[in-house]
C-alpha cells in the first residue's frame, strides 16, 4: 500500500474518507450547535448582569486553557469513551469564543442607540431583539466561526476516545507509520476547516445588516 501515491491512496479509500468526513462534520456540528444554544444566551446574560460576568468568563477561560488532549483524557472517567464525551469536550471548547463574542457584540452597541430606543418607549426585550442582537450579529457570527474552525481541528483528537471522524485516519496512519494515511486524514480536515470558514464568512456578511459596514472585523 505504501507504493501508492497520495492521490491513489485517497481514491482507494474514498468511501471510508467520506464516511469519516461526515462523522467529523457531525461531531463538530453538534458540539458547535450546542455551544451556540448555551453560549449566546449566556453571552447576553453576562452583557446585562455584571455580577456573573467575570465568574462565567473565568470558567469558560479555564476550559479553553486545558490542553485538549488532557481534557479528552479527563473526561473518560466521567463519561467514558465514544460519541457523547467527545461532543461534550468539543462543546466546552466552542463555548468561550461564542460567549465572549456575544458579550462583546452586545456590549459594544452604542449607548446612544439604546438610549434612544428606551427613550422612545421600547421595552428591554424589544431593544434586545430589535436593536442589540441585530447589531451584534456579525460579531456573534465571528465567534461561531472561530469556534467551528478550532473545533474542526480539535475534533481530530477526539478520535482518541473513539469518536471517529478524520482523526481516526490520522492516528491509524501514525501507528502504521503511513504518511499517506496521516495526510489522508489531515488534508481533508484542513480543507474542511478552510471551506467551513469561508462558508461561515459568507453567512456572516449576509447577516450583517446593510446599514452597518464597520463591524465586520470585530471578532475576537
Amino acid at each position: 500500500m505504501n507504493d501508492l501515491n497520495f492521490f491513489q491512496f485517497v481514491a482507494s479509500r474514498s468511501d471510508e474518507l467520506i464516511g469519516l468526513t461526515v462523522q467529523h462534520v457531525q461531531i463538530t456540528g453538534l458540539a458547535v450547535l450546542l455551544a451556540i444554544l448555551l453560549g449566546v444566551p449566556v453571552g447576553i446574560l453576562i452583557s446585562k448582569n455584571k455580577k456573573v460576568r467575570s465568574p462565567i468568563l473565568g470558567i469558560a477561560n479555564v476550559f479553553q486553557t486545558i490542553p485538549s488532549l488532557a481534557l479528552f483524557g479527563l473526561i473518560i472517567p466521567l463519561l467514558g469513551t465514544g460519541y457523547v464525551p467527545s461532543v461534550f469536550v468539543l462543546f466546552l471548547y466552542a463555548l468561550l469564543p461564542i460567549i465572549k463574542n456575544t458579550f462583546i457584540g452586545i456590549n459594544s452597541v452604542d449607548e446612544a442607540i439604546i438610549d434612544a430606543g428606551r427613550g422612545m418607549g421600547m421595552t428591554s426585550k424589544q431593544i434586545l431583539t430589535k436593536v442589540e442582537i441585530p447589531l451584534a450579529l456579525p460579531v456573534i457570527m465571528g465567534g461561531i466561526r472561530i469556534s467551528t474552525v478550532i473545533n474542526i481541528g480539535t475534533a481530530t483528537i477526539a478520535a482518541l476516545i473513539g469518536a471517529g471522524g478524520l482523526g481516526e485516519m490520522i492516528f491509524k496512519g501514525i501507528s502504521m507509520a503511513s504518511n499517506n494515511m496521516v495526510l489522508a486524514g489531515a488534508v481533508p480536515t484542513a480543507l474542511l476547516a478552510i471551506s467551513v470558514d469561508k462558508l461561515l464568512g459568507m453567512f456572516e456578511t449576509k447577516l450583517t445588516p446593510e446599514g452597518i459596514t464597520s463591524q465586520k472585523d470585530n471578532q475576537v
Binding site: 446612544a112 434612544a116 445588516p209 446599514g211
Partner: protein
C-alpha cells in the same frame, strides 16, 4: 402639563447634580432649558421620561404622579430627541421613524404615510431619504431624522435635547420656524434644551437658565433680557448676544480693564520709566496710585515729558486737563464716532461717579473684533 417638585438628583449618592429644582410647564408652551455644559439640562430632561429617576422629589405629568403609569407607556406619550441622535444604524431612515408606530401595531400603509409626512416636515424629500441608511446622511440630516422620529406617534409632549446643534444656521432657523409652527398648530408642549441663547430667545415661551443643577431664573425671554435675576444670568445672556449686535456692546465691554495710571506727585523721569516699561505713549494721572477707582486729573504724553525741562515738576502741574471721556455704558458705535471725530487713540472710560475704570485704545477695539471673529468662527465649525 409637567410639574417638577423639589427634585434632587445624584448619580453617585454623594454630589447632587440637580438640587431642589422646581419647574412648572404649562400645556402648549415651549420651555427652554439653557446653561453651560454640565449644569444638568440633559439630566433634568431625562427625568421627565424616567430615563433617570430623581433621587427625591415628585414629577407630575398631566396632573398625575408619573410613577403611576408604566415607563414604557409614559415614554410613548413623550417624544424624545436625544442629544446624540442615536439612530438605529441597521435600519433605514423610514424604519427608524416607523419603529414605535410598528411596535404600536400600526398597519404598513399608515406607518409609511406618516414617515413620508414627517420627512416632508423636516425637509428631506421622502423619495430620496426613506430608504437610506443613517450612515449615508450628514450629521444635520441625522438630527432631522431624530426630530421626525420623536414626532412619529404624535405625542403631546416633546422633549428635545439640543436637537438643532449640528445644523447650519439656515436649516436651523427653518427647523426653529417649523417647531414654532408645529406648536402653534398642534399645541404641543415642548421642553427644549440648548446652549444657544439666540435660539432660546427665538423659540422659548419661557426660559429656565440653569447653573450647577439649579434654576437661576425661569421667565419669559423679555424678562430674562431686561431683568436678569443675577450676574450669572446677565453674563450668560450678554456674553452670547453681545457679539451679534455691535449696538449692544458698550464702552465697558471694549475697554482695557487693567489700567495703568500714575499718581499726581510723580516726577517726569519716573513717568517716562513707567511708559517705557508698559510700552505706552500716554498715561492718565490720578490723585494716588491705588487700585481703587478715582477720577482722572489729566493725561500726559511721552512727547510732553521729553519737552519738559524742569525735572522736579509734578504731574498735576503739567498734565493736560482737557480731555474727552465716555461713560461706561456708551455704546460701541458712539465710542468709535468720538474717537474718529476727535482723532484720539486713547479714550478714558468713567463710571457713574466719574471714576476712571478703563481705557479704550485702538488695541482694545482690535481685541474685541478679534474675539467676535473667533466666536463667529467657532459657530461656523
Amino acid at each position: 402639563m409637567i410639574e417638577l417638585v423639589n427634585i434632587t438628583k445624584s448619580y453617585d449618592g454623594k454630589t447632587n447634580v440637580i438640587e431642589n429644582l422646581n419647574l412648572h410647564i404649562d400645556k402648549g408652551e415651549i420651555v427652554v432649558l439653557i446653561g453651560e455644559s454640565g449644569c444638568g439640562k440633559t439630566t433634568t430632561l431625562r427625568m421627565m421620561n424616567r430615563l433617570n429617576d430623581p433621587t427625591s422629589g415628585t414629577i407630575m405629568i398631566k396632573g398625575e404622579d408619573y410613577t403611576k403609569i408604566s415607563k414604557i407607556e409614559l415614554r410613548r406619550q413623550l417624544g424624545y430627541v436625544i442629544q446624540k441622535v442615536g439612530l438605529m444604524p441597521h435600519l433605514t431612515v423610514g424604519k427608524n421613524i416607523e419603529m414605535i408606530p410598528e411596535l404600536k401595531g400600526w398597519d404598513k400603509k399608515k406607518r409609511k404615510d406618516r414617515a413620508y409626512e414627517l420627512l416632508e416636515l423636516v425637509d428631506l424629500p421622502p423619495e430620496d431619504y426613506y430608504d437610506r441608511y443613517p450612515h449615508e446622511l450628514s450629521g444635520g440630516q441625522q438630527q432631522r431624522i431624530g426630530v421626525a422620529r420623536a414626532l412619529a406617534v404624535n405625542p403631546d409632549i416633546i422633549l428635545m435635547d439640543e436637537p438643532f446643534s449640528a445644523l447650519d444656521p439656515i436649516t436651523r432657523e427653518q427647523l426653529q420656524k417649523e417647531l414654532l409652527k408645529l406648536q402653534d398648530e398642534l399645541g404641543k408642549t415642548i421642553v427644549f434644551v440648548t446652549h444657544d441663547m439666540d435660539e432660546a430667545l427665538k423659540i422659548g415661551d419661557r426660559i429656565a437658565v440653569m447653573k450647577d443643577g439649579k434654576i437661576l431664573q425661569y421667565d419669559t425671554p423679555e424678562e430674562i433680557l431686561k431683568n436678569p435675576a443675577n450676574e450669572f444670568v446677565e453674563y450668560f445672556v450678554g456674553k452670547d448676544r453681545l457679539w451679534k449686535s455691535p449696538e449692544m456692546l458698550n464702552a465697558n465691554d471694549i475697554m482695557h480693564k487693567s489700567l495703568v495710571t500714575v499718581g499726581q506727585k510723580r516726577s517726569p523721569a519716573q513717568v517716562i520709566e513707567v511708559m517705557k516699561k508698559k510700552d505706552m505713549e500716554l498715561l492718565f494721572i490720578v490723585e494716588k496710585e491705588t487700585s481703587k477707582p478715582q477720577p482722572p486729573i489729566g493725561y500726559i504724553t511721552r512727547k510732553n515729558l521729553k519737552e519738559q525741562e524742569d525735572h522736579k515738576v509734578k504731574m498735576s502741574e503739567i498734565c493736560n486737563k482737557d480731555f474727552i471721556s465716555v461713560h461706561q455704558n456708551a455704546n460701541m458705535v458712539d465710542v468709535l464716532k468720538i474717537m474718529e471725530e476727535n482723532e484720539i487713540r486713547y479714550l478714558p472710560v468713567l463710571d457713574d461717579d466719574k471714576n476712571l475704570i478703563g481705557m479704550i485704545t485702538t488695541a482694545s477695539i482690535l481685541n474685541i473684533i478679534t474675539k467676535a471673529v473667533a466666536v463667529k468662527e467657532e459657530e461656523n465649525k
